[in-house]
Every structure is written in C-alpha cells, then in structure tokens.
C-alpha cells in the first residue's frame, strides 16, 4: 500500500541542514558547534541519555527555541526567514501528543486537516493499518496511552509533508506498534521524505542513517 504518492515528487529536492548550533539552557550548554545535513530519504537519529538535550534540539529544529549561535536551513534557506513554508513541510510527533482528551479521534484529526495540507490517501486504510478504526467515536481520554500514540501517528501519516520530526516515537507502543512505526518511517523515507528521530531503542530502518550522539 502506498500512502504518500503526492509527497513523492515534491520531497525529492528537500534538504534539512544545520551549522554550528549552540544551545544554552539556564547555565548549562546542551550542545555546541553542532551541525548536520539531511537529504531526502535520510534518517537523522539523535541518541543520548535522558536530559542530554534531544528534545531541545528537536524543538530548536522546529523553530521553537532561539539558538545561541548557528542556523537551521530548509532547502538552503534559513528556517527563520520562511517559517510558514517550513512549518508547512513538517509534522512533529512530540512527547505530549497534542491531542484533546475531550474530543474523539475524528474531531482531533479534523482540526489538523484545517491547519495543514493533507495527503489524498484513503483515510480508512490508514486507520486500519494503525489498528484504530474502531476507536473513532470514543473520547481520547478513554483510550490507552498506546492507542493515543497511534492516533498521533495517524495525524502524522495524514499530513502531506516531507519532514517528520519524531520525539521518542516508540513510547507506550507495543512490540507490534514499534515494528509498524519503523516500517512507516522506512516507507516515508523510501518515498523521498526526511525524518529526524530521537530514540533510545535501536532502530531497524533500512535507509541512509546519520547519528548524532549527544553528550
């Protein structure tokens, strides 16, 4: 099954790069002089112990933290100069899902549809693949943490964007779910997408891999 036909041609040229990033939070320097370049089809894996700044780096990439030095580029243009274009090209699976517990799955996903360009794939097949097709009408707070994460994954899959930012995507997921996430990422990268992932587990994804080991 192919989910992302629309992205394919547009994502082919996409490139995310960063130069000389330094981030200081409080009195602590989280990283200094950090740089990377990620092309279409590539996976950037952020590794390191708890509290070493993986999420902060992810937030900095998303343009939510101001950096001490350095700049992040999307297609060789600084992100800060094209914030809307850049944000229209990414979707962020954060640690907190960002879904409303009082609303059901369809209402949550419908909100997302108004904000971001959606891919033209078959909704039902996406729900089925993630195993959430029976949960549509339940308020999200009635779902288990793993099921909520699957809904967040659905939001990610339905957005028609080249760049996926995934902060600990395997949290709360069962073994089957973890395999599914890896497979989805692999397909996304195969179609010319990009992915930045912070993870503790070993990932088994067949794609050009860049690792950043954070101190």
């Amino acid at each position: 099954m192919r989910l992302r036909s629309a992205t394919e041609c547009k994502a082919l040229t996409a490139k995310l790069s960063a130069e000389n990033l330094t981030l200081i939070r409080g009195e602590r320097c989280l990283f200094e002089g950090l740089g990377f370049a990620l092309e279409s089809g590539g996976l950037l894996l952020l590794e390191g112990r708890n509290g070493c700044g993986k999420t902060s780096l992810m937030r900095a990439i998303a343009g939510m933290l101001s950096l001490e030095t350095g700049e992040i580029f999307w297609n060789d243009v600084p992100v800060l100069r094209q914030r809307q274009t850049f944000h229209g090209s990414l979707v962020w699976l954060a640690h907190r899902t960002g879904l409303k517990g009082d609303l059901n799955m369809l209402e949550n996903l419908q909100f997302e549809r108004a904000l971001r360009r959606q891919s033209e794939c078959d909704l039902e097949s996406v729900y089925e693949r993630l195993g959430i097709e029976r949960l549509k009408k339940l308020p999200l707070r009635a779902l288990s943490a793993g099921q909520q994460r699957r809904v967040a994954l659905a939001r990610m899959l339905l957005a028609d964007v080249p760049l996926w930012l995934m902060d600990e995507p395997f949290t709360n997921l069962d073994r089957e779910g973890r395999t599914l996430v890896m497979k989805l990422v692999e397909e996304h990268l195969g179609a010319g997408g990009l992915c930045v992932m912070a993870a503790h587990q070993d990932v088994d994804i067949n794609a050009p891999l860049t690792r950043i080991r954070m101190q």
Binding site: G63, S66, N75, Q84, T85, A94, R96, G98, A114
Partner: protein, 232 residues
C-alpha cells in the same frame, strides 16, 4: 515552493478551526464556561443584599457593580485560555502549524469571548433589574458590556499567553491586565451612569468601540509573540 504554499488551507480555515475546536471543548465541559458566569451572577445578586434595599442607592451603584463584576469574571476565565493547550502539548502543535500564529490566537480568543463575554452580556439585563435600572438604559449597558468584554478578552489573551508557562500565574495575569483593562472599566461604568442620568453618553460608546478595534488589531500579534516567548 510557491505552489506548495498555495495548497495549504487558507487563513480563515485556521481561524474557524481553532474557534470551532474550542467551542466544541467548551460544549463538552460546560462547567468551565459556567464558572465565571456564576461568579458574575453571584456578585451582582449578593451586593444589593449587603448594602440594603434602598432603590436610590442601588440605582446609583448598579452600573459600577455590574462592570466590576464583569471585569473580575473575565479575569477569572482568562487563566484557562491557553493552559489546557499548554498542558496537553497542542500549543506546541499550534506553534509549528503553517498557519499564522496571530490568526490562531485570534480564533482562540474569539471562542473565549463567545463562551465567557457573550454569556455575561446576555445575562446582564436580568441582573440589571435588581438594581432598578431603567429599561431604556439596559440596551446601552449591554452594548458597553459587549464592546468592553471584547477588549478584555483580547487584552487578556496577551496576559494569558505571557503567563501560560508559569505555575499559579493567575495573580500575575491580573496584575498585567488590570492597567490595560482600567480604561474599559472607567468608560463602561461611566457611560452607563451617564445614560441612567439622562446625560450625553455616546462619546463613551465611541471610545469603547475604538478601544475594542485597537485591541482587535494589535492584541493577536502581541499574543502570538508572547506565546512564542513563553514556550521557549
């Protein structure tokens, strides 16, 4: 890249979607909406009991009491404007959405006004009766309250955005907003008093309208900037 931008949902869809989502949330949790309204109604009904039933005195103090109660009720409801979104991570999602943040903030503020300001306006005639306010003054009072609560919601959204990352930011929020809200209170209460005394009151209405329009055009940008700062 340009054709990619064009396929994004339009600005209005972001505005309506945020407003619609917040209204839906308010519908599913009516307690949060009713709290400020109860507060407003309670202050306005308890006051006459405390100061005594003299009609003259009540008529004199009515506009002031109604307006102070409306201001405090609005302040009470502002704290939760961005708090829920902050806690469940959806504020982060709004910050990385391709829609302009001021528009999304405006959508949230619109929903806030519809669920907190508008109910106050609609309930106020019933409470005005307890202060033996003349019927001819009631529509004027409703108009001032309407313009005033629009300003208060908009100005309050700046304070709510600035204090969203702080624990127990309510007191700070009130301190931040009160100086900006003071002109609204003075204009609103005095306009109603003037109308009740058969004086010329239209200037007050115009001034309140101007204040609301100024807030409408500036507050969303300030709120968006404040949200970015407090989410760093």
């Amino acid at each position: 890249m340009n054709d990619l931008d064009e396929q994004q949902p339009g600005i209005l869809s972001g505005l309506w979607a945020t407003a619609r989502r917040d209204l839906l949330l308010a519908w599913k949790r009516p307690g949060d909406v009713l709290n400020p309204l109860f507060f407003f109604a309670m202050v306005c009904t308890l006051f006459p009991l405390a100061v005594g039933p003299s009609a003259e005195q009540l008529e004199f103090s009515g506009p002031g009491v109604l307006w102070v109660a409306a201001l405090l009720a609005t302040l009470l409801s502002l704290n939760s404007l961005f708090l829920g979104d902050f806690e469940d991570g959806s504020l982060d999602q709004l910050l990385v959405s391709p829609q302009p943040l001021p528009v999304l903030a405006l959508g949230k503020t619109l929903a806030h006004w519809l669920t907190s300001g508008l109910p106050l306006v609609l309930v106020s005639p019933i409470l005005a009766i307890t202060y033996s306010m003349p019927w001819s003054v009631v529509p004027i009072m409703m108009l001032t309250l309407m313009l005033g609560t629009i300003s208060l919601s908009l100005l309050g959204s700046i304070g709510a955005a600035l204090t969203v990352g702080l624990h127990r930011g309510t007191a700070l929020l009130s301190l931040l907003i009160l100086p900006l809200a003071m002109p609204v209170l003075l204009l609103g209460a005095n306009t109603v008093s003037l109308a009740a005394g058969n004086d010329i009151y239209t200037t007050g209405i115009w001034a309140l309208g101007a204040y609301a329009i100024a807030s409408l055009s500036l507050a969303p940008y300030a709120t968006a900037a404040a949200l970015r700062i407090s989410n760093e």
